[in-house]
Symmetry: C2
Subunit: 326 residues, 2 copies
């Protein structure tokens, strides 16, 4: 059987209370006893049971993190940063891949509640899922979920403006925007709005393509093909994420478009991965590490300070001037 606190006490020749005092650094303990206890713990290979501790303390130091999928490099990087910051602050991460499925996400929320997580960081595009009766500390990344949930995001509208304006400034006449499913309330919607606004401000007609929610990234190529067939005059494309942008680049190269001479392309997200593998792809960089840091920081504040005012944090984005828009 696993050794427990009692066993440590026995091995060290002290009372269980004393062991607990050493463990939690409370009350008076002589250096001598402290060492005796640590010795005993090492000797019998004792490992405290955090379940029992948490049960009593009503504090698990667990944080639930819900994202669509770590397969997507944006979320992979985001989660990696979140986990790092959590670790720094002593939190452990329960990972949930919702795969954009509302049903799954709902089950994850319940699971997290059953597990008594201290808080949740969620990237969700399904509003109205969360039962507001429970006042669990939570941060929504990049999307407004309800007035009880604090939002951390980058400035998607600004990003959309930056991207579109960059294409306009470079002299593109026929700029088209591609984005994901618009029925989901994703931040991409703000990017699209910004695109439309900038287009109108410049006397252009916004044209929009929407890729369906596909199982395989590669299937998005169909939509791209369609775009080029229906709009051979296109000379600027703003894709709402880098993967789409790269697929466009791929298509363009295969079909004899010179980039950036014939066609300029700008993506969105600017993960380290894509920026490294494709420095030529212009993109809007989201401050991924900062989003993660801010989220963890604010969540921690919510957890430790009750009645924290819920301010919305909007972090600035920046333009990565790749060759695809030169």
């Amino acid at each position: 059987m696993k050794p427990k606190l009692q066993d440590v006490a026995k091995a060290a020749g002290v009372s269980p209370t004393t062991v607990s005092r050493v463990l939690n650094d409370r009350g008076y303990i002589s250096q001598e006893t402290r060492e005796k206890v640590y010795q005993a713990m090492k000797q019998i290979n004792y490992i405290p049971n955090d379940l029992a501790r948490s049960l009593y303390n009503k504090r698990t130091h667990l944080v639930g993190v819900i994202v669509p999928s770590t397969s997507n490099p944006f979320f992979g990087e985001l989660v990696s940063h979140i986990e790092n910051y959590c670790n720094e602050k002593g939190y452990k991460v329960l990972l949930c891949n919702s795969l954009h499925e509302a049903e799954k996400e709902k089950k994850y929320w319940e699971m997290l509640l059953r597990n008594q997580v201290d808080g949740v960081i969620v990237v969700s595009y399904n509003r109205g899922l969360i039962d507001l009766r429970q006042q669990l500390p939570a941060i929504a990344i990049d999307h407004y979920l309800s007035k009880h949930i604090q939002v951390v995001s980058s400035d998607n509208f600004q990003g959309g403006q930056l991207a579109t304006q960059a294409l306009v400034d470079k002299g593109c006449q026929h700029i088209i925007h591609i984005n994901g499913v618009s029925t989901l309330e994703t931040p991409a919607n703000d990017r699209r709005s910004a695109y439309q606004q900038v287009m109108r401000e410049n006397g252009r007609t916004p044209i929009n393509y929407e890729v369906p929610d596909v199982a395989f990234l590669a299937d998005n190529m169909d939509t791209i093909k369609q775009l080029f067939q229906e709009h051979p005059e296109v000379d600027g494309i703003f894709a709402s994420d880098d993967m789409l942008g790269l697929l466009v680049l791929q298509y363009a190269r295969q079909h004899g478009y010179r980039v950036p001479e014939d066609l300029k392309i700008i993506g969105y997200d600017g993960t380290e991965l894509i920026r490294t593998l494709h420095p030529e792809l212009a993109t809007i960089m989201q401050p991924i590490a900062q989003i993660a840091e801010k989220s963890v920081e604010l969540l921690d504040l919510q957890i430790t300070n009750k009645d924290q005012p819920l301010t919305a944090e909007v972090l600035p984005v920046s333009l990565w001037k790749g060759d695809s828009i030169r």
Copy 2:
């Protein structure tokens, strides 16, 4: 205060034992009572406390997953699949990004033990970290850690052979291999051994470049530059992962090498992401989903059946014939 089982009992007008019986589906319960209890739970918004349950049952349904970092698309995809399969089997994932740091990994192991995880799935290149006195169910992916820990991997030696042989078959005369730090006992070592063997079998001298462990992917470019300067005759490169392969491709294009005419390149891993964004890059595909599935399956077996024999699972890899070796 959060409602507890007692409160449900009160609300439903039954005894706590009855509620517990309903919850755990034990003993005799009439349909009527069952519904009354469920009603009460919904009404007072009751959520069972899994800490308390787990404490008594000595079963948390938690699985620790340790990987270097989900920022890397290979691990991002792997983790995503692992999490999915875990979810199917009722396990929850505690995510740990070890960042290749032995010290961090050690702390994570301890953390997982404190949290009473049912088992661990680990991608670790640091042998000898785990204290073998504790017999925790565990699976090591792609690396032998100790004789008490079951290994699931793809056939790295075969992968190395396939890759090198492909380059040889396509007529490359000067094939060079690039891989990561060899002081870490990574599976890349097997790939390198296979490369060396195939080279010798074909009467060639293996040449090896090693990229240091860098903070930024882009820094690997220095090593690549060096390789080309020292070996301008190179006409075939086997990179031990796709990101390195793509950096080589990037360098080659920038420096006027025609791929595959002047230089053939093959990578390793074959994540869905890279295969989609770079179908032209030949690579060795690891069966990521299968590795994940097998790992979860075997871990579950270890957890439920004590004294499971520990067989090593080696899954086959396959060649993705991209244009970079045509």
